[in-house]
């Protein structure tokens, strides 16, 4: 099992029946209690990594309680069962156990990594964190103070200021517009009872997705999963999150901030994860701005004009929204020019699409670099969780490669025309940019 990625790619090359062959690599485990997980066995090191997510994240914060899910997730490891914060964290630390939870927009995610000698202890700490978190008031107040301090630091962070303004303009009155860490007012008002209620509502068995990598067997893993998650409620009670189209098209916002440089975010509607054009969009995004030093934007704005240290774009895909979005920084005097170059590249890509050579380069990179992500047990487990959250099958890692390879030049041109429209770009600039006029 040590070389599962290699095996996986070889299979691709020889065209063996993929799902079946790969079933032996990524094993589907169902615990006696009915918890399903994907497992990659690897006993080359004495450790086990388990990654897990629950559908439903900060977008489930009730109005006026923004920041609730995030604070709840942080609190789970601040003391549980008979161990107060000090005892709990000392147990993790002294046994080199990594256990943590965090909230995203659409999920709450968790991670456990233990040396083989401590599997039982690690799992029981995880079970206690989920089933008997203490929410000791001293610890709640400590973490609340940390969040308030970080929100206050964010008030002057160009990236955060831009992200928030962009979200407000793009998502309007949708829940995605709300700050996931909350505001000082909402965070001050969060009560322990609210956190307990949110925990009971969101972290259940029917919305749990688990994957594991490491030194274990399906039988052992099944028993460990039941111990860890068996005490959770059967069903989560999630509020539906309506799909939202990206708003703010064509608008420009300028947020004043002292300094010599301006940070800018720009973007508009993208494609969702189930869109048949997802991989053509991935390819054309790579060519325009996703390809690091080789993207059209990097070559024109950095390499030829020297206007920035970095510029890039990406597809941001959420459960209920999809964006193509980019960012850059430039001197206050040159930011407007950099944005003009962005618009020109955006328009050209929308009009003519990529060249055949660019398409081949993108496919070579996107398929060739894919194995590089599979470095580290927790990372591999996290990739499997991600695939399962996206509704993919166990052959996904091969299917994804095939779908990238199958993008034709005609697909790429058609999707570039569909995707890139400079007139729709929503721009948020934070700084003191010369010659950039706000539309609002």
């Amino acid at each position: 099992m040590r070389r599962f990625v290699a095996a996986l790619l070889l299979l691709l090359a020889v065209g063996v029946s993929v799902a079946h062959a790969q079933g032996q690599r990524i094993e589907a485990v169902r615990s006696p209690g009915g918890i399903e997980a994907w497992l990659v066995r690897d006993n080359s090191l004495p450790l086990l990594a388990i990654e897990f997510s629950w559908r439903g994240g900060s977008a489930q914060d009730p109005a006026g309680q923004e920041g609730l899910t995030a604070l709840m997730a942080d609190m789970l490891t601040q003391g549980a069962g008979t161990r107060d914060q000090q005892a709990f964290s000392a147990e993790l630390e002294n046994r080199s156990i990594a256990l943590g939870f965090s909230a995203g927009l659409d999920t709450v995610q968790g991670s456990l990594r233990v040396l083989s000698r401590d599997k039982t202890l690690g799992i029981s700490l995880l079970a206690e964190a989920l089933g008997q978190p203490r929410f000791d008031s001293e610890q709640v107040e400590r973490l609340r103070a940390n969040v308030l301090a970080s929100l206050s630091r964010d008030e002057t962070s160009p990236e955060t200021l831009a992200r928030r303004a962009f979200a407000r303009a793009a998502f309007g009155d949708h829940v995605y517009a709300r700050p996931t860490r909350g505001t000082p007012e909402t965070v001050k008002a969060l009560a322990t009872a609210d956190m307990r209620a949110q925990l009971a509502r969101l972290l259940a068995r029917d919305n749990l997705v688990v994957a594991a990598v490491g030194d274990t067997t399906p039988e052992e893993l099944g028993a460990l999963l039941d111990r860890a998650f068996g005490g959770l409620p059967q069903a989560a009670r999630l509020s539906p999150v309506a799909q939202v189209a990206i708003g703010g098209a064509g608008k420009t916002f300028v947020i004043p901030r002292p300094g010599s440089q301006t940070y800018a975010l720009f973007g508009h509607q993208g494609v969702g994860r189930d869109d048949p054009d997802l991989f053509a969009a991935t390819v054309v995004n790579y060519i325009l701005g996703g390809g690091g030093f080789n993207s059209r934007l990097m070559l024109s704005v950095r390499e030829r004009a020297g206007l920035t240290y970095g510029i890039g774009t990406g597809l941001a895909i959420f459960d209920a929204a999809a964006l193509v979005q980019g960012s850059t920084s430039s001197d206050n005097r040159t930011l407007a020019r950099a944005l003009d170059m962005v618009r020109a590249e955006w328009a050209e890509m929308g009009k003519d699409g990529p060249t055949a050579d660019e398409l081949q380069g993108a496919k070579d990179f996107l398929t060739g670099s894919y194995p590089l992500q599979f470095d580290g047990s927790s990372r591999i487990a996290r990739l499997m969780v991600g695939a399962r959250l996206d509704g993919r099958g166990r052959d996904w890692f091969e299917e994804r490669q095939r779908r990238v390879r199958e993008v034709t030049l005609a697909d790429a041109k058609r999707v570039a025309a569909r995707l890139f429209d400079p007139a729709r770009l929503l721009v948020v600039a934070v700084g003191e940019p010369a010659g950039l006029t706000a539309s609002e």
């Binding site: 090191l45 000090q86 990594r113 002057t156 002292p258 470095d375």
Partner: protein, 446 residues
């Protein structure tokens, strides 16, 4: 305390000998002096190539700050055979990721690729070790890029500006007091010739280490290294001569007030030995003890400073002690903290001083030292979970006056450290009052 024996017993039972090596690399040297290290790790079909040069920002001549980092950028601008921009394009076509970084003691270049593509990136990297070609047309916009980089990573961030000023205060004579990226007015004056001179002076096989880590065999690497790096002639490499620090004599205080600061922060730094250079009566062979002291003082959730300031007294949202002995010349030992909202920085400072006084007076006990040693020993197992982590340890050791054997002996050295050594090292360094205190504050009225 009663759990110590149990913890150690469990550790020894984990089928990992206490004095195991960390990465068990294979090493050899080419006739032209290039050191080669191969870390075989077959968990995934990927490999990283790194080339480390013993040349960093602290080797720059005065007035040319930033040239080491500037050359790092220019190394992507082409050779006789590879036109400008082509290097990264070819690596991307291979499905690789490539980048580079510059430190005070080294400059390093790396590519991550699928292991069947290693040969191509070795050919590319070897080519630019000797054949760099630079035109003014390439150099001029790239100088604007590094200036934008400085604005983005330093000028836009008050904490980064303060860090620069703190280093400049701590090192009164040694070039570690200069920013790696350079001072802007000197960066503006860097020329194509400066870059070519730097390249000619330091870039040679006998001043470099090639590290290959991942799904590859040492035998295969030897063949490829001979083929691509073997023909590059060695050069006469100058000694690394750096002005050294005089004994520090006075406490210094650096304060930055900035309207963009919303939450204050505080730190205090002392000069300290590196793993290659003694300082303040603490030998380079005592840096493992000092490393353990940093872990016990502020490196862990159960450490003295975290317990006292974050939990017992509720004065800080975070506090840490940091110490990295991986440098050629003496380095720094730093305690840094962020006050809780509403807590006065002066109150935080005196509470930290009180904990430091108590810790220096009483010292750490055997039990907590043993626990910290176990944690650090565990990290030698965990680091092997990533195929590529090892490459950095060997390159950094090489460029800072240590070798492969030193990296591999870490578990054994750690096991040999005594509680008395930990306490002696910490006292020797932190008893000095000639430290630099650094405070970041909001601008009044903003």
């Amino acid at each position: 305390m009663r759990r110590i024996a149990w913890v150690l017993a469990a550790f020894l039972a984990a089928a990992v000998p206490a004095h195991a090596q960390v990465f068990s690399p294979k090493t050899f040297e080419l006739a032209n002096g290039l050191q080669v290290v191969v870390v075989e790790n077959h968990r995934a079909p990927v490999v990283v190539q790194m080339v480390w040069y013993k040349a960093g920002a602290a080797d720059e001549v005065q007035g040319k700050s930033g040239i080491a980092h500037f050359l790092e950028h220019l190394m992507f601008k082409g050779t006789k055979d590879v036109p400008p921009g082509e290097f990264s394009r070819r690596v991307a076509r291979l499905g690789g990721r490539d980048n580079a970084f510059t430190g005070w003691d080294y400059t390093a270049y790396f590519q991550n690729v699928a292991s069947d593509r290693l040969e191509s990136v070795m050919q590319l990297e070897a080519d630019r070790m000797a054949n760099l070609v630079l035109s003014e047309a390439e150099v001029t916009p790239e100088r604007d890029v590094i200036v934008e980089e400085r604005r983005q990573v330093v000028d836009q961030r008050p904490a980064a500006k303060l860090r620069e000023q703190t280093s400049a205060a701590l090192f009164v004579n040694h070039p570690y007091g200069r920013p790696i990226i350079g001072w802007e007015h000197e960066m503006q004056g860097l020329t194509r010739q400066d870059a070519l001179d730097w390249y000619a002076r330091w870039y040679a096989p006998n001043n470099a280490m090639l590290v290959i880590a991942g799904d590859v065999s040492a035998e295969a690497v030897r063949v490829l290294a001979e083929r691509y790096y073997g023909p590059i002639p060695r050069k006469a490499i100058p000694q690394r001569v750096r002005a050294q620090e005089p004994p520090p004599l006075a406490a210094r205080r650096v304060e930055l007030r900035d309207p963009r600061v919303r939450q204050p922060s505080w730190s205090r730094s002392w000069l300290a030995p590196s793993h290659a250079a003694a300082f303040g009566g603490v030998g380079a062979d005592q840096t493992d003890a000092l490393d353990l002291a940093a872990e016990l003082l502020g490196g862990a959730a159960s450490s003295r400073l975290v317990r006292a300031l974050v939990h017992d007294k509720s004065l800080a949202t975070g506090i840490a002690a940091s110490y990295d002995p991986t440098s050629l010349d003496p380095t720094s030992f730093t305690v840094s903290a962020s006050p809780r909202p509403g807590v006065d920085v002066a109150a935080l400072e005196s509470a930290i001083e009180a904990v430091l006084r108590d810790t220096l007076a009483a010292g750490f006990g055997d039990a907590e030292v043993a626990q910290a040693k176990t944690r650090l020993a565990d990290s030698a197992i965990l680091v092997r979970d990533s195929a590529q982590a090892g490459a950095r340890a060997f390159g950094a050791a090489f460029a800072t006056g240590r070798d492969v054997a030193y990296v591999e002996s870490w578990p054994a050295r750690l096991a040999a450290v005594t509680t008395a050594q930990v306490n002696a090292a910490l006292r020797a360094i932190l008893s000095s009052e000639a430290h630099v205190t650094s405070v970041l504050l909001p601008k009044p009225g903003s």
